[in-house]
Symmetry: C2
Subunit: 426 residues, 2 copies
């Protein structure tokens, strides 16, 4: 396998591939390091190996920090046991592009994952590594999507599961966690309090907290989104990606995925411009970007985009670097713009996204209106979660008419709405 | 293309491929007829053509009643414009099999479709044919899942959309329809009243009602589930399928799909035993099967499995024939068994299904307990919809504990639940 060790992002100290996430020397964050020369083969062979893999994210096992390797000829190892994530659709959105005055927009719809968010990717990697390391309990601190994913993957693998969430979480996300038999613990406080408590528990229990002590493995799962986008575009890079920012991990790992493949020769050309998207009610990275700062000032989240409501983004400084280095930006949008973004995406593509996707769609609309996007660009819009999980954002945005079960009642309804189609009646 | 004409299932009268569904001579239902010899090529060539197609149900375009043909080399025609359905996961469910004392169970998870039910398949075909025939308005009578699918596909294709639903439908399904900009009309009455009204409207308006005047095209979409299952099993037939029955269309078309491929030599061996699954609160087909009758007596539905709540199943007699001819059966389960089925599937596979999947899982459990399934059998369980759409069925089935954000509070919680993991604390 290509993964070799864990390494501190700050001081470069090296560690073995066990369950740790903080550098003992400088307290910097640890990251998985790879030696891709171990893979062998030229570009053609690497591509053929990927294309011959399973129709899920384990086709990219060579580039992930698990040591088992890709599934064998039976495909059983990691792909068919457990809950396969990834290989979600990349859809050309001509009607959306037209509405925004753009030429080529693609929507990467990660709501098609097993628990309907991109978190299935990161949890797949963390859970696989947790099993390799012999853990019997899977756990997490979550704003909702991660809770669903950890509970589901834990059930699929037969692991005991603990999920800690903020007490005010949407009921949809709580029900879609408890159904898997997970122990659901609602903590009085916001995500930042939940996360602090989980960090404390992780020091006292031999549990695999996917986004704490397993974080170096977990985070690499996001790279599979970059790999898929490039493979689905015919082994080409997009010109621009619009990506939600919560902790900043997805945003930065997406770029890392593109870069790894570029260095290997699997992709050619410039890295895409990376546009980050936040809600104004929780915009520490967008605020720092606008102010020209290198670190983020913590904020107290207040937004309907709960899956992005992290007031102290761990990867904030790395996200700011990336936005500037790639020629992108980090923008924020209002609650009203989020709702409009959900409706715009649904009405032009047939894709119903949760509030986080309303944030990315609204930022894309803002970039287009501002003239930041060249007409020749190929843009990829990331949709990371499902509308059924945040139905409150849609309630009251349209009208339902109740009628009696008769044709006369239907004709009266048509007359009221002045339906253009009525003119086409026989 | 292989599709040649529409044909009456009763008197065999032939009609052109336009928007009609009833035989003018005997009032029997019309069905699409195919001449597969038009496809040319041997088995190897047919398989290679499928494998070279897009990663969605349009890889089976040769076997569907649209005349455009499969997408060209650009893949743009039917697969990338619009909302691609199909190619959902077939997952080996060893933990579920073990729990039921079976050897080999596979779960076909059609909740992975764009609007999270198998209805995306039938709507894809009906919408494609509606465009070919020049319709500007897409419409349907729906118990919910179909409403979501018609609204989403209409939005993706830029068609005006009318959706008629029973007035007491779950709010989740109404919100996930209106968001796409569809005109949502709630009819006072059950599905059977809604269907009657839509039949009347379809005679008065030049609209494409996917499940009325487009029904012969729509229904064929279900065959893609059979094609995918066989392809995902390595071009082999399963020994048994457990399938939900509402109108009976999915159940019978699944068998038709297997049979078409068997006749073409794409598959070998016996057709699978076909087990139908209904809720006791709406079990016209299961009741007729148990009584040894050839037709179904209409019932007034009363069940939480609303997507199966059709009291007058149009394909009832064909479903009864199939159950008997294939060596299968049609069983029904209680509301409590449906809830237990949802929990059993979630806790052993990580898949969260709507009530209809609770029905099929509960019927599988019943067949296993009854000893109807031979240990050597390869069984496929159909999951046709998503748990997020019927959350009411899960509410109150588990406990959530609220704690203060402190390690002491967490330890007290652990002590209360006597978590076995606590013994593993350091």
């Amino acid at each position: 396998m290509a993964v070799t060790h864990l390494q501190c992002r700050a001081c470069k100290a090296q560690y073995e591939l066990d369950a740790r996430y903080v550098c003992e020397r400088c307290f910097g964050p640890l990251e998985a390091a790879f030696d891709h020369s171990r893979l062998g083969g030229d570009v053609g062979e690497l591509r053929r190996r990927i294309q011959g893999g399973p129709q899920n994210m384990w086709r990219y096992a060579d580039f992930l920090p698990t040591v088992e390797g890709p599934p064998g000829p039976s495909g059983r190892l990691a792909s068919r046991v457990g809950l396969p994530a990834g290989c979600t659709p990349l859809i050309r959105a001509d009607r959306l592009a037209q509405r925004l005055g753009l030429r080529e927009v693609w929507v990467k719809n990660d709501a098609a994952n097993p628990t309907h968010s991109f978190k299935d990717r990161v949890v797949s990697v963390a859970a696989a590594r947790a099993r390799e390391l012999g853990f019997g309990v899977l756990a997490c601190a979550s704003t909702g999507n991660l809770a669903n994913a950890v509970a589901a993957h834990g059930a699929a693998l037969g692991l005991e599961t603990y999920v800690l969430i903020p007490a005010d979480l949407e009921e949809q996300k709580i029900l879609a966690t408890g159904v898997y038999g997970a122990r659901v613990v609602a903590v009085q406080g916001g995500y930042d309090e939940v996360n602090r408590l989980c960090t404390e528990i992780s020091a006292e229990r031999e549990w695999a907290f996917v986004n704490i002590n397993l974080r170096p493995y977990y985070a690499e799962g996001s790279k599979t989104l970059a790999f898929e986008i490039a493979e689905q575009l015919g082994w080409e890079l997009p010109d621009r990606c619009v990506v939600p920012i919560a902790s900043g991990s997805l945003y930065t790992k997406l770029a890392k995925g593109f870069e790894e493949w570029r260095q290997l020769g699997l992709l050619e050309g410039e890295l895409p411009r990376m546009n980050g998207a936040q809600a104004q009610g929780c915009a520490p990275v967008a605020n720092a970007f606008a102010a020209g700062q290198e670190v983020c000032r913590p904020v107290k989240p207040d937004t309907i985009a709960k899956s992005l409501a992290i007031g102290t983004p761990a990867d904030g400084p790395y996200a700011l670097d990336l936005a500037r280095a790639s020629g992108g930006a980090v923008d924020s949008v209002t609650e009203e713009e989020i709702r409009e973004g959900i409706a715009l995406l649904a009405q032009t593509t047939g894709i119903f996204t949760e509030t986080a996707g309303g944030v990315t769609t609204a930022v894309l609309a803002k970039l287009a209106a501002r003239g930041d996007i060249d007409p020749s660009e190929r843009v990829v819009l990331l949709i990371t979660g499902e509308g059924l999980k945040t139905l409150d954002a849609v309630r009251g945005t349209f009208e339902t008419t109740v009628i009696e079960p008769s044709f006369e009642a239907f004709e009266a309804f048509e007359a009221r709405v002045h339906a253009p189609a009525a003119a086409r009646a026989r």
